[in-house]
Symmetry: C2
Subunit: 139 residues, 2 copies
């Protein structure tokens, strides 16, 4: 992970254990709100971190492009590793299930938005809501 260090340094930022722990927690969780991430960090055996540090670390990691976030629920942001952002997110309104779909599923959409509006869409940031197979059948 000296890669992390270099990316940080390249931007005049520093590598701290806190940032490493936050990044690791995001990786462990897959998806998590700042709150859940703080809890996960707290359970990694090295003690809890103040929430403010978690927020600031997430900001830094995000600025670096290492993590991204989407709005899985309609309240708090949910962070994930950037490498994880090779998918767009599907969120079930019924049960909260979170699924993924390769980004190329949105190619047509991205192309149209570009053609018609000159807008450069970053679909990996999108959470598409709807109903998963199970909830769909139940209703």
């Amino acid at each position: 992970m000296s890669d992390l260090g270099e990316r940080l340094r390249a931007r005049g930022k520093r590598l701290t254990t806190q940032r490493e722990r936050v990044l690791a927690a995001v990786g462990r969780l897959g998806h998590g709100t700042p709150d859940e991430i703080a809890a996960s960090v707290a359970s990694d055996g090295a003690g809890a971190l103040p929430v403010s540090t978690v927020y600031r670390s997430l900001d830094a990691l995000q600025e670096l492009g290492l993590v991204g976030h989407t709005h899985v629920d309609h309240r708090t942001p949910s962070y994930h590793l950037a490498e994880h952002a090779t998918h767009l997110h599907l969120v079930c309104r019924g049960c909260g299930w979170v699924g993924e779909m390769p980004l190329d599923a949105a190619d047509e959409l991205v192309a149209r938005v570009d053609d018609e509006l000159g807008f450069a869409a970053d679909v990996s940031h999108a959470a598409v809501h709807g109903l998963c197979r199970t909830c769909r059948e139940d209703s």
Copy 2:
């Protein structure tokens, strides 16, 4: 607007001036956070409403399918008329500009998600982030 009244009654809910005013404010704004909606309501000449009423009205109208919301910024939800949800939303990360695109631009995406995961996507709830033409050129 007796239509609104009937839809409410059909669900055991009631038509109140507060709900009408909130709905009107959403229509006026196009897009708005609860806060902005409260401000817009307050300026309609009939006095301000407590925020709690605004929140509860938005919930009721949403439950009724008259308004929907997306996460335009990464903090607060932005509500819009349901009829407005014939578009998906594009949000510029640079300047906050909010654009629209007809839903059919996402047809392919919706179809793939359905085929592969059985997920019924409601794209009108999605906000796709990216860079608008202007911000794109600036960077």
